[in-house]
Symmetry: C2
Subunit: 401 residues, 2 copies
C-alpha cells in the first residue's frame, strides 16, 4: 500500500479524491499497489464530508510522515505551493500537480530537485487539463524533432469565440453569459487576455526544447477586440477564428506567442469548439499529430493528476522522464515571424491600401462601407511599416496555416 | 552505446533507419545512450544503399549477438515474424513493431514472454501509425475507466469516403484513383472490408480490458456498399460518413465491431478527413479525449517504432507497462447494441415503413422516387425483425452519436 496526500480541497483537490475513490480498484491494479489517501490539507474544515477525518491544517503533518510517498498539489498559485512542493521533493516524496503558474515559473528547478531526491515532479494536468500531452511529448514523440505546436489552450476563450461565431453575438454579451454559466471567471483577465494560454505554451516550449521558456517573454494578445464583423469575414473565407498559442522553431530561432487568428478548414484545429482544448504538434518525421479533450473542469483535470500519481507509484524511488533545465530559452520577437493578415479597410481607403500593400486578395463580407484584404506573407514589422503609410485600417487579424 | 537491429528493410524498416539517422543526436539524448543500428535483416541485398554493409540474411546473427538489446520488427505478417520475435524476447532482447497482424494474434503471449525475460514488447505503431495512442492508454489514462473507443483507424477508407463526399464520385472510381496514387493497395480487401480496422480495434479492446479480444469475433462491415446517394442524405442531415471501429462496454457487456456510420458535427471525428486517423476515447472521469494524426506512411509509422525503441533503451532490463492476458475477452454480438438507422425507402414503400417502424424522422435528400427515415434507437435484431415486415428497403446505414 502506498500512502498519498492531497494539498488543497477545492475543485481540483476534491476531484482528485473523487477520482481515486470512484476508480479505486482499477487504479490500484494499474499502480501495482493500493493507493490510499491518508491526508487532505486545507485550512478549512469540512464537517459532514465523507473524508472530513482525513483533513489536516498543518502541512508538516504530511511532510514529516515517512509513509507519504506521493502528494497531489491542487492549491494553485505560486505560494505557498512552491514552498510545500520543495519541502516534499526534498523529502523524496513525488509531487503531481495541475498548478500551471508554479510549473511555468519554477518547473525547471522543481524537476531538478526531484532528480536529486530520486522522486518525480509531474504536471500533466497543467496543460490541456485532462488531455494527455506532456507525457506523450516526453515518452512517445521521442523520435521526432518537434518544430511546431499550435494550441487551443484556453477553454473559456474558445467557448466565447464559438458562441460569437454561431450566434453572431458580441464579445461583451457572450462573456457575461459565460460568466453566468460558470465558464468564465468573475475576473476573466487571465483567460481573455491570453495569459493562461501563454503560461501553457511556455510550459510546452520548455518541455520540447529542454530549456526554460519564460512567460514574461511571451507576447500575448487576447480576444477582447474580436467582433461580429470579423466573423463575417471568417465565414466568407471559410475560416474559423481561434485564440492560438503558438510555438515555432525555424532555422534555430524560437517563437512563442498567443494571439487570435484565422485558420482554414484544413487545419485540424478548425473543428475544435466550445470549451474544448486541442494541441497540434508537428514533428519532422511524424508530421502532424493532434491531442484533443477537456482542457479544464474538476474531473478531467483530476483524472490527469491521478494518472501522474499512478505513474509515480509504479516508479517509486525513480525519477520519471520530463522536465527541463534552468537555462533560458532565447525567444525571438514574434513580430519577425512571417504570416498573412486580413486587414479590414474603409471603402474609401482601398485604393491607398492597394498602392502600399500591392496585390492582395479582396474579401467582401457584405458589410456596408468596408472590405477586407488578405495580404501576402510578411513579418509584423513589415506589416506595421506598410500600415503606417496608409491612412487607417479598421482592424487586422493574423491568418495562420 | 546500445546496439539495435532492424528486421525487414521495406517501407517501414527503411523508415526506421531514416528516422534514427536523421534525428540521431536528439534520439541519443532522449534515450540516454547512443542508439546504434548494427544489423538490418533482409533476404535481399541493397547494393548502393548507404547502409548496405549492415544487411544480413540470417536472423541468427542478430539473435546470437549479445550486444543487440533492442530489435525493430518491420517484416509484417505472422510468420516468420512470430518465430523471430519469440526468439528475440526469450534472449532478453526488447522488440518494437508496427506489425498489427502479429500483435493482434499473439500480443498477449509475446508481452508475457517479455515479462518473463525482463525486456519489453512494444507496438505503438500497430494502431494509428504515428499517433501516440497505446502508450497514453497504458501510462496516461490510468485513472479512468475507459468505456468507449471510436476510431477512424484506416486511412485508405477514410480517403475514399472523403473523396466520395467532396466530389460526389462513386466508390469504384475513387478506389481506382486511390490505387493509382498509392493510397490503396492493388488488393484492397483488408482495407475496404474493414479487416485492418478490425485488427486495430481488437488491439485497443485488449489493452483497455487486459483480456484478449479476438479479431475473428469482431464483426466487420466495409464501405463497398456506400454510394453517392448516401452522401446526399448525409449532407442534408449535416452528418459525415466514416468507417468507424467501435469498442463499447455497457453493463459488463463488451462490444467491438467495424462498420460505416453517420456521425454529426458534434462528434470530434466529424472533421477527420483524407488519409488521417483519429481515435476518440471516453473515460468515466475524463470524458472524451481524441488522438489524431497520420495513421500510416513510412516516416510517421517509423517514428512510432523508434519512439518505442527509445523507451526500451531508457528501461533496459525492465518490462514497460502494457500488454494483456491470454484470457479471452467475451464479446457480445454487435447486433444487440442499440443505435439509430437511416433507412432509404422507395416513395411507394413509405406508408408501409411508417406502419411498421412507427414515428420516424423523415429525410428528403432531393433524390427522385425515394426518401429516408431516421429510426428511433433500437438494436439490430429488432431492426431486422421490423425490416422483414416491410416490402423492401434500398439501404440502411447506422447513425452513431
Amino acid at each position: 500500500m502506498v500512502k498519498a496526500a492531497v494539498l488543497g480541497y477545492g475543485t481540483v483537490g476534491s476531484g482528485i479524491v473523487e477520482v481515486i475513490k470512484t476508480n479505486q480498484k482499477l487504479i490500484d491494479q494499474r499502480a501495482g499497489e493500493q493507493v490510499d489517501i491518508k491526508y487532505i490539507l486545507d485550512l478549512r474544515d469540512f464537517p459532514g464530508d465523507p473524508y472530513e477525518n482525513l483533513v489536516v491544517h498543518d502541512v508538516q503533518v504530511i511532510l514529516q510522515d515517512p509513509e507519504i510517498r506521493v502528494i497531489a498539489e491542487a492549491m494553485g498559485g505560486v505560494e505557498p505551493a512552491f514552498t510545500f512542493t520543495k519541502a516534499a521533493l526534498s523529502a523524496g516524496k513525488s509531487v503531481c500537480t495541475s498548478n500551471k503558474e508554479l510549473v511555468e515559473k519554477h518547473g525547471a528547478e522543481l524537476c531538478e530537485l526531484a532528480r536529486q531526491n530520486s522522486c518525480s515532479y509531474l504536471y500533466e494536468a497543467s496543460v490541456g487539463g485532462g488531455i494527455p500531452i506532456l507525457r506523450p511529448l516526453a515518452t512517445s514523440l521521442t523520435a521526432d524533432h518537434i518544430d511546431a505546436v499550435t494550441g487551443i489552450l484556453n477553454g473559456t476563450t474558445n467557448y466565447i469565440l464559438t458562441k460569437m461565431d454561431e450566434e453572431g453575438a458580441d464579445f461583451d454579451s457572450v462573456l457575461k453569459q459565460a460568466q453566468e454559466m460558470g465558464y468564465a471567471e468573475r475576473n476573466p483577465e487571465a483567460d481573455i487576455e491570453g495569459h493562461d494560454a501563454g503560461r501553457k505554451i511556455a510550459i510546452l516550449a520548455s518541455i520540447i526544447t529542454g530549456k526554460d521558456a519564460d512567460f514574461d517573454q511571451i507576447y500575448t494578445e487576447g480576444i477582447t477586440a474580436i467582433n461580429p464583423e470579423d466573423f463575417a469575414y471568417a465565414h466568407t473565407m471559410k475560416k474559423a477564428i481561434r485564440l492560438l498559442a503558438i510555438y515555432r522553431e525555424k532555422n534555430g530561432s524560437f517563437f512563442a506567442y498567443v494571439a487570435p487568428a484565422m485558420i482554414g478548414r484544413d487545419n485540424p484545429l478548425y473543428g475544435v469548439r466550445d470549451v474544448f482544448n486541442s494541441i497540434l504538434v508537428h514533428g519532422n518525421m511524424l508530421g502532424n499529430a493532434m491531442f484533443y479533450g477537456a482542457g479544464a473542469g474538476k474531473l478531467p483535470t483530476a483524472s490527469a493528476v491521478v494518472g501522474d500519481m499512478v505513474d509515480c507509484v509504479r516508479s517509486l524511488g525513480k525519477t520519471l522522464p520530463g522536465g527541463w533545465s534552468t537555462e533560458k530559452l532565447p525567444l525571438t520577437d514574434h513580430k519577425s515571424r512571417a504570416k498573412r493578415f486580413l486587414v479590414r479597410i474603409k471603402e474609401e481607403d482601398a485604393a491607398g491600401f492597394r498602392e502600399v500593400f500591392g496585390d492582395c486578395e479582396e474579401i467582401r463580407a457584405g458589410i456596408d462601407g468596408e472590405l477586407g484584404f488578405l495580404t501576402a506573407e510578411m513579418d509584423e514589422n513589415e506589416f506595421e511599416k506598410k500600415a503606417s503609410r496608409i491612412r487607417e485600417y479598421i482592424s487586422r487579424i493574423r491568418v495562420e496555416d
